[in-house]
Subunit: 136 residues, 4 copies
């Protein structure tokens, strides 16, 4: 199993009144990690089509420990847990060496920006995602 590794900066303004990264900001961290995997790294691997749009159909996130502001980045790991004709599932962990801050999962739908319609995964996309595929 390969997990995509992303290092996410924590901004001071990500914190709320309680001094913890606000729970909605975690979805932004997932978005950054997902974009890095489906955008930058996929393009490097010759699969530039995700960049043309991929819509979030569902997110689930469990908060395991409060994340406080810190100078160091936090790690976001992303991998694929399911591949279907016109959608796929991702799992994530937000963590550092000592602590698991959140576990999350998303259902993603490839999207044709011009026709504004969902579309099927292409073969190169499927091959790329398969590298990150694991059962859980």
């Amino acid at each position: 199993m390969i997990r995509h590794q992303y290092r996410c900066s924590v901004r001071w303004s990500d914190m709320d009144v309680y001094g913890h990264v606000n729970n909605s900001v975690f979805l932004t961290y997932l978005e950054e990690a997902r974009g890095d995997m489906l955008g930058r790294q996929a393009s490097t691997a010759g699969v530039g089509t995700f960049a043309a749009g991929c819509v979030s159909a569902k997110h689930e996130i469990e908060y395991k420990a409060p994340l406080e502001w810190r100078e160091a980045t936090v790690a976001v790991e992303v991998w694929v847990t399911g591949l279907r004709a016109a959608s796929f599932s991702l799992a994530y962990e937000v963590k550092d060496e000592r602590t698991l801050y959140a576990r999350a999962a998303s259902t993603m739908v490839p999207y044709d920006l011009e026709s504004r319609c969902p579309r099927r995964l292409t073969e190169p996309e499927r091959a790329y995602l398969t590298r990150f595929l694991t059962q859980h």
Copy 2:
């Protein structure tokens, strides 16, 4: 069944490049509606203790239709789907007269800010939440 009704403003900056309210911003809308129910309205009803802290343990959200910027507010309905000793479950719908934009659910944990520990629901809190309780 009573659902708490909240009207949420849509800010121009809530939109992303695709011209839709970004998916992480929906969690902010839920937070506003939840705060209105557990903060303002609970205080009005004589239950001021939620304001001392309530932590999100889990969120699930399904995106049903893209929400574009608009002058009108969007409705967020919140209700209670489960009550346990030291946690409770909420459900939400983000919608207007014509469209359901998102359906969501949260697990919330009452929290003692001083001891930084989870705590049990008090009787007045339980009575307040029961007003909004439904099975699904």
Copy 3:
């Protein structure tokens, strides 16, 4: 002198660790008020062209008092302090009945989204802005 009046919601997540609305969020409040004046109200007055784009060239903002979270909206007043061939100046106050929270000023440049170039103000735009024109 007419000032455009806008009521802005304060979100819980607008606050930072100090319990005050974060200073960058004030620019979002100005943006909402400006959009209401140059978008919605201008369109109602038959001047729909601002909506096609208007770029911020400069902002200045002085923070006069900390703004804490509150259920009530905060007022943002906007008016015009200068009109030039291809730019105009706005002034703002963020306040409520008792307190002035911030005073601000912007230089705005009408923008042609297709050619991606600055453009001159049209006569209808100039007439609309003149309603809000004052010397300071």
Copy 4:
């Protein structure tokens, strides 16, 4: 003249509908760079007192070129342009090798969080800031 150098990540959600980093987000970039200079680096230099609070009294920002999303960080340079008894002035540039995106200036006020009052700069703070002092 020494300028403090900070590398700021650009998040996908920093962009607005026009595909440019939203103008309010630039203040967040300045905040990150300022926090790095007055927090992390000052603490490393033995001046830990800024971390106890420093309030923005004024910001000015000129937008010189649109900043689009990119994988690479953007540089934020910060330096000191004035030192007074109970306030100081900062200047900033947001840029990369090829483009200057924004120029900005802030007036900062040291703040005693306990008494909730402005306070004078201490001698170690003054000495630290002097390293970054230039006339313009």
